[in-house]
Symmetry: C2
Subunit: 284 residues, 2 copies
């Protein structure tokens, strides 16, 4: 099978390496505007040749869009326009409702399967890709009834091969949920990084006493701005709601701490401890 990876970064690269580790004989084609990434992807065996997008589309059985969401937004109709009629197009973007609405009435909509793998690290680029990134992770497929059965089945078969878990949902619901359990985490981390870096200007040695708790909460502040800025715009309404709710919780903590109301802060934290139940499910 000829598979094009459009955007040979962490996610696209790991998709290719993961599939190569469980299925033989595929020919992978790389498309990327970043020439260094193209060279690196060839060198690491992520792809076997580099093409321009139009050429890649013309000869692919499966096309995987693993670019930032602002790029997917125009690539999606562009690629559907040019896709051979039996080929399949998927994207791996972190927002879904905008795209899906965008191609809702496209004559070839049914050749597209809307995917979001809940996987990634705070690093980016082909050199960070590794075969096991997707294994045991959740793949969300949105609006599956809009896809042709054979297109959906091809994607399901690949997901199974990659040993991913599977969850179907509606694109709008996806975007509402992901704002809370992914996008908000990233903003909380970016803002935490900024707050402490700001303080460092006055208190030079502040990081001498940072430990694993700090690292854990601030790790996502290393994430790529080019990837995240468009996500924030695409999912702005949902993120704004989540962020507003988060700010309210923090203001409540601040008020309680200002008043030294220990019983109330203990109570809030006891509620928060319920996250153990959730994390136990996640770490299973």
């Amino acid at each position: 099978m000829k598979i094009s990876i459009v955007g040979v970064g962490l996610l696209g690269g790991s998709f290719s390496l993961g599939l190569q580790s469980v299925e033989e004989g595929h020919h992978f084609i790389g498309v990327d505007i970043n020439e260094d990434h193209c060279t690196k992807a060839l060198e690491l065996g992520i792809v076997h040749e580099i093409c321009q997008l139009d050429e890649a589309l013309a000869k692919s059985d499966l096309v995987v869009l693993a670019t930032p969401v602002n790029v997917i937004k125009w690539q999606l109709p562009y690629c559907l326009d040019r896709l051979p009629s039996n080929s399949v197009l998927i994207d791996l973007g972190s927002t879904k409702a905008t795209f899906n609405g965008h191609v809702e009435n496209h004559p070839k909509r049914s050749r597209y399967v809307s995917c979001h793998p809940i996987a990634g690290t705070e690093n980016s680029g082909p050199a960070e890709a590794f075969p096991g990134l997707l294994k045991n992770k959740m793949m969300i497929i949105c609006d599956k009834d809009s896809s042709d059965e054979d297109a959906l089945n091809l994607v399901l078969q690949k997901i199974k091969k990659l040993e991913m878990r599977l969850h179907f949902m509606e694109a709008k619901q996806h975007d509402r949920h992901i704002a809370y359990v992914s996008h908000l985490s990233h903003i909380s981390s970016f803002a935490l990084g900024l707050t402490v870096l700001d303080k460092e200007k006055i208190e030079k040695s502040i990081f001498a006493m940072a430990g694993s708790g700090f690292s854990s909460t601030v790790r996502l502040a290393k994430s790529s701005p080019d990837m995240w800025a468009p996500i924030f715009s695409h999912n702005a309404d949902n993120i704004s709601e989540a962020l507003g709710a988060y700010i309210k919780q923090l203001q409540l903590f601040k008020e309680i701490i200002d008043k030294r109301e220990e019983d109330k802060s203990r109570e809030l934290m006891e509620h928060a401890n319920d996250i153990r139940r959730v994390l136990m499910g996640l770490d299973r």
Copy 2:
């Protein structure tokens, strides 16, 4: 040497197990109001006998206070009052200025060494203790000039044996810094947990799509309310300042996202990426 561990939980227990793994022949005495913890600590070899506090104090060469900070606050003068004149008292609390001010003029102040190991996990209790918790971690010693040379040297020798790194600072500076690099991380995580748990009431399946980024930022919301509520009161002014600065950063993000100002959000995140430099230092 006879060493009393007052509070046989994660930190006190790990201090004992860590020392036992590198030095032989010490006799460890446990003091705890939680009888289950006492039984568990004996069973796990964390301590060799259980005593009431007064009895433990009378026969110890080294006394380690590993209780929540509201308890350390009264235990510190109480223990100094009863400590044999050549013995040494340390605490492992996460705030420092309150205690140190509290015993500043105590006739036996110089037998006390004010310590804060930057180590811990989100778990608590003796069953969670392990010998390697303190290894390679930072030990902060505050106001070292207020301690006798022999008392300080005893503590330094133990720190070296435990293979910890060492940093001296003034108690007030300690509390200012730790508000930013530890206490704020915990509140950001508790508040994130609360926000998403609240949303779960309406959107049942929200956690189906939570991944490692979410786990990482919310992990600290599992922390013990009994330990953290008093810390927030003790260090209220510094935490309130840090929390205020954090809320401002989040409000800025919200404003930018509401206005879909992608360039500005990209710029904020690029600043935040500077945290790579810091985390590289921490993970070394």
